[in-house]
């Protein structure tokens, strides 16, 4: 099963949860039905595995109504439809009611670049981040998806899990909910925090750089304590696979008691009006290893140039 995509793992684990946990429900709006059907869940759980048709707002509200009755619903669709189209339902029919659900999206940022702007949603994490109490997971590997989904099923809170086509070579379960130290740089060296699938290009970009590299699959709430412990210098680089700077505030808040400089790298807020592939969009946005390296070195060297004592 190691070659499963995040999406395949999500469906398999969801089917397993439906069978094993009598509290779990899944609500879909057509998308995903064909993937879950082979598991037979719609036949076995006709009132807990629900397809409302192409009605994403109803999908989220239905999840809210189920949660009001004590179930633990999973709602799932493409990110723009789950988060952007249904945003008021997320805000009011979950949070404002005082209940939670597990929202699981596919189509991270420009995963489906061929689909264009309608199917891209780089702002999803920032949007959910405007709402109180949400936990946001951006897993970097299918094993992390499974861990986070099973963990979310056991809780009651509002949880957003963002699946992506891009993934890291290996899972880092220690960084699934907190911050995991991937590599230690020398004392005072820059710190790079990679979120979810950005670890892979970050490791290549920083291969020969003296830097501490951190990983997390949970940008909200951000593990401020581990971040504070790991940062030994002033330079911090945040690399996220969605809207640039989304977690900049959380990083800045964690380091508020010390001098620091933060460089945010992520998807810029632009309408590219290009199709093509995810990889092509990563390149244009400077999110491939080469693009990240260019910005990393510019940031680090700028600091050295600005400090005469170290630039000599």
């Amino acid at each position: 099963m190691t070659n499963e995509t995040m999406r395949q793992r999500f469906y398999r684990v969801t089917a397993d949860l439906l069978d094993a946990d009598l509290r779990v429900a899944v609500v879909l709006a057509d998308i995903g039905v064909g993937y879950l059907e082979p598991f037979g869940v719609f036949g076995r759980h006709p009132r807990r595995a629900i397809n409302v048709g192409i009605r994403e707002a109803l999908m989220v509200s239905t999840a809210g109504g189920m949660a009001l009755e004590g179930l633990r619903p999973i709602a799932h669709s493409y990110a723009p439809f789950l988060v952007e189209r249904s945003f008021e339902q997320v805000k009011l029919d979950l949070g404002h009611q005082g209940v939670g659900a597990i929202l699981v999206s596919i189509g991270a940022s420009h995963d489906w670049a061929e689909g264009g702007r309608t199917h891209n949603s780089p702002g999803d994490v920032a949007l959910i981040g405007t709402l109180p109490d949400w936990t946001i997971h951006v897993p970097g590997h299918a094993d992390e998806v499974e861990l986070l989904l099973r963990q979310a099923a056991l809780s009651d809170g509002p949880v957003y899990i963002r699946l992506s086509d891009a993934h890291n070579r290996e899972p880092r379960l220690a960084g699934a909910t907190g911050i995991d130290s991937v590599r230690r740089g020398s004392a005072g060296a820059p710190t790079i925090l990679a979120v979810g699938p950005m670890l892979r290009p970050v490791l290549r970009a920083a291969e020969d750089l003296d830097a501490t590299i951190l990983y997390t699959a949970t940008p909200r709430p951000l593990d401020a304590e581990r971040l504070r412990d790991a940062v030994t210098g002033t330079d911090v680089v945040l690399v996220e696979p969605y809207l640039e700077g989304t977690s900049a505030g959380a990083v800045a808040a964690a380091l508020v008691d010390r001098p620091s400089r933060l460089r945010s790298i992520g998807v810029p807020s632009v309408e590219l009006r290009r199709y093509g592939t995810r990889q092509e969009h990563d390149r244009v946005h400077g999110l491939d290893a080469a693009g990240i390296r260019t910005r990393l070195t510019a940031f680090i060297e700028h600091h050295r140039a600005a400090e005469p004592s170290t630039s000599a």
Binding site: V27, G53, R55, A57, S61, G64, G65, E69, L71, Q97
Partner: protein
């Protein structure tokens, strides 16, 4: 049912309404719902202040959350809300806002205000109750004819009909406030989605009771309660 020490009647509602002040903008809408709300709480709903957490209780979801004075007045008359709380209506320290919040008032099933959320939430509740095979528990939603403008209602109407949500009853208070109207009639448009439908006089308590009590095996039910235009 618990006998309430302070059990009040329909005749007390004007006085209770008078204890609330300030919501001028929504005052007419508040009163359009008064008779239906009274009949629901007085004759239909299996719910009392003692059973607000009973899994077998009927759920009543006020979707048309604006103009909640009639709702609060009925809740006060039935002992869910202390009469003394009414005077604080809308105040910072009051639990009774211009839009009700389930997290602040025991017995209020949803937090509403933004139109078009109650019926979709009711779908999830009805499905969950079906799954639990919860005997009895019915789900009633009150919406306005103007509120039906919101497309989310139509997502819920279409799906509930096809899903055969028998537990679900929707009351549409029709004071013809929808800007562009519903040619053919609200009941006809919902009937084609597979619902049981009935129209009644939204001021006649016996008629309202009969309309709400009609059997509707295997499908959801809608009661279009007509009240005076602009009430």
């Amino acid at each position: 049912m618990t006998t309430l020490m302070n059990a009040l009647g329909y005749g007390d509602l004007p006085r209770l309404l008078g204890l609330m002040t300030g919501d001028e903008k929504h005052s007419s809408a508040a009163h359009s719902t008064l008779d239906v709300l009274w009949v629901l709480y007085d004759r239909i709903l299996n719910i009392s202040p003692a059973t607000v957490d009973d899994p077998a209780r009927d759920r009543f979801l006020l979707s048309k959350g604006h103009g909640p004075m009639a709702y609060y007045a009925v809740l006060a008359a039935k002992g869910f809300v202390p009469e003394a709380a009414l005077a604080g209506f809308g105040g910072f320290d009051s639990n009774l806002g211009y839009h009700p919040d389930r997290n602040l008032i025991a017995g209020v099933e949803i937090a509403s205000g933004s139109l078009g959320h109650g019926l979709p939430l009711a779908v999830g509740r009805a499905l969950a109750l079906d799954y639990r095979q919860q005997a009895g528990a019915r789900v009633f939603v009150l919406v306005g004819d103007g509120e039906l403008d919101e497309g989310t209602n139509h997502e819920a109407i279409a799906f509930s009909g096809r899903a055969g949500l028998e537990r679900l009853t929707t009351v549409v208070i029709d004071n013809q406030s929808a800007s562009h109207g519903w040619p053919g009639g609200i009941e006809a448009r919902i009937a084609v989605e597979g619902w049981s439908t009935v129209v009644c006089d939204g001021r006649d308590h016996d008629e309202i009771e009969r309309a709400l009590s009609l059997p509707h095996v295997g499908r959801p039910h809608v009661v279009v309660a007509r009240v005076e235009v602009g009430s």
